[in-house]
Symmetry: none
Subunit: 255 residues, 2 copies
DNA sequence: TCCGTTTTTTATTATTTTTACAAATAAATA
DNA sequence: TATTTATTTGTAAAAATAATAAAAAACGGA
């Protein structure tokens, strides 16, 4: 086995698992670590992967400081953490819907696709995060683009959505209120989100702690439609209520 | 066994396994390594395989599609200049369609909207450039997102496009050839561009000088459908032809 | 037989991999 | 927080492997 074949193997491994380790590659390829490092260096120079300590990843680890708008900076750490937790729920060969918002962008950034993944989304920033991965098929909904959220709304988005049914929906919301349910800033956005709920088997809500007890203009749905809520922290009375009606609660790790 | 038979055997082996080694071929063909190397060299010259150290592989292992961002760097100055010129054609209260590609992204960047402007586009990077302006209404076409161009293609895009008729279409193309007409890399992209042409009153092509005389895979249309071509420089025979059939020519300023 | 072509042999050069060890980095401990 | 410990990295020289060039040998027709 020569260097080119090794390179192909490494690329294949990294596409399948998201990352590789020098030692594992030594084992499976039967060469010394120096050789592997040289291979990894070459592949990094060729922009095919990113070197890390002890291995390499498919993703650039130093792209954390990319442009995020003002909204995303609020509760950023919580959102990153929620995004990571949500990303861990994405399975091999899944087909998922991702809604708009800043939290879902963090989710998109954390997704490292294993095998194939199909994503339907209204959010342009989610799409841009995901098309970096060759193995992800992204279906961008169409329609009028909202200036505030760089996501589409309206009849065209609805119409495309009618053609899909996905295993999971990840929805970022603006308000989570015991009586009012979940809500978002605009009525049209809420309508689209409602459609998304109908197009998914499992509905997963991403909401940082600041969202609880808040009501936003457009009501999306009652909690009966919700399967899971991911948050950094949830008030006591909400936890009790969610448990009583069978909504799964996932509290993400603090960092 | 003569050299032709050896070549056939090598091709067969490489098709079956993806790669071959010089030493294995020596063994199985019963000839010296020098002979095998000569065979491999010949086959590489005939573009039937790629040579590696110690063997050969079926295809260039490092050939990955160039991403938009890298593509944009090619002929960047020309594209900026073409983009500026094209932007100057956008009028008050216009409604326009903008195709995908790197040149059109430069166009989007140069547009400074006066009053209202409605833009329909398949390209996500065009949308992102334009939603910075509050007065621009952007309609993003939907569908499967191409990884290489961050733009959508397919039936959903077509369907949305059916609902609009715009005053101008700005189209970036990959090839402009006297006999073949205008063309682009993918067949589906070409189909969508064709639809766009039908949805616009005036068709404006953006093509830097490197595009002339080039034919790309997907044919978009003949020159009869074209109203205007903007370029940094156009070969003499093309100018003559365009003038004879009434295609307007705009040469942009060099900077 | 001779002649032209192809293949092999041989020697040299180039490339790749390994070994060995010091420096740098991350993790664990006090 | 500082210090120790274990890993990981980088580098250069040595060893192994592969490629190249040129001369010699083998082959296959006239």
């Amino acid at each position: 086995m020569n260097n080119v074949e090794r390179h192909q193997y490494i690329i294949q491994q990294i596409n399948a698992n998201g990352n590789v380790s020098v030692l594992d590659l030594c084992d499976s390829l039967g060469v010394s670590s120096v050789t592997i490092r040289k291979d990894l260096q070459f592949l990094e120079d060729s922009k095919l992967l990113f070197r890390t300590h002890g291995g390499a990843t498919i993703q650039n680890p130093y792209q954390t400081d990319r442009h995020v708008n003002e909204k995303a900076k609020l509760h950023e750490l919580e959102k990153v953490s929620i995004g990571k937790k949500a990303a861990s729920l994405v399975m091999k060969n899944d087909s998922i819907i991702i809604g708009s918002g800043t939290t879902t962008q963090f989710l998109a950034r954390e997704i490292i696709p294993i095998d194939n993944l199909t994503v339907v989304t209204s959010a342009l920033n989610v799409t841009l995060e995901l098309i970096k991965h060759q193995t992800v098929e992204v279906i961008q909904l169409g329609g009028v683009v909202r200036h505030t959220s760089s996501s589409v709304i309206g009849q065209y988005a609805d119409a495309i959505l009618n053609n899909f049914f996905c295993s999971k929906l990840f929805l970022g919301v603006d308000g989570v209120d015991l009586e009012y349910g979940i809500s978002t800033t605009s009525a049209q956005e809420a309508m689209l989100n409602h459609k998304m709920i109908d197009a998914a088997q499992k509905v997963i809500i991403l909401a940082d702690s600041s969202k609880f007890g808040r009501k936003s203009f457009g009501k999306i749905a009652d909690f009966s439609k919700i399967d899971t809520i991911i948050s950094d922290s949830i008030p006591e009375e909400y936890i009790d209520y969610f448990e009583s009606i069978g909504v799964e609660i996932i509290i993400c790790d603090k960092e």
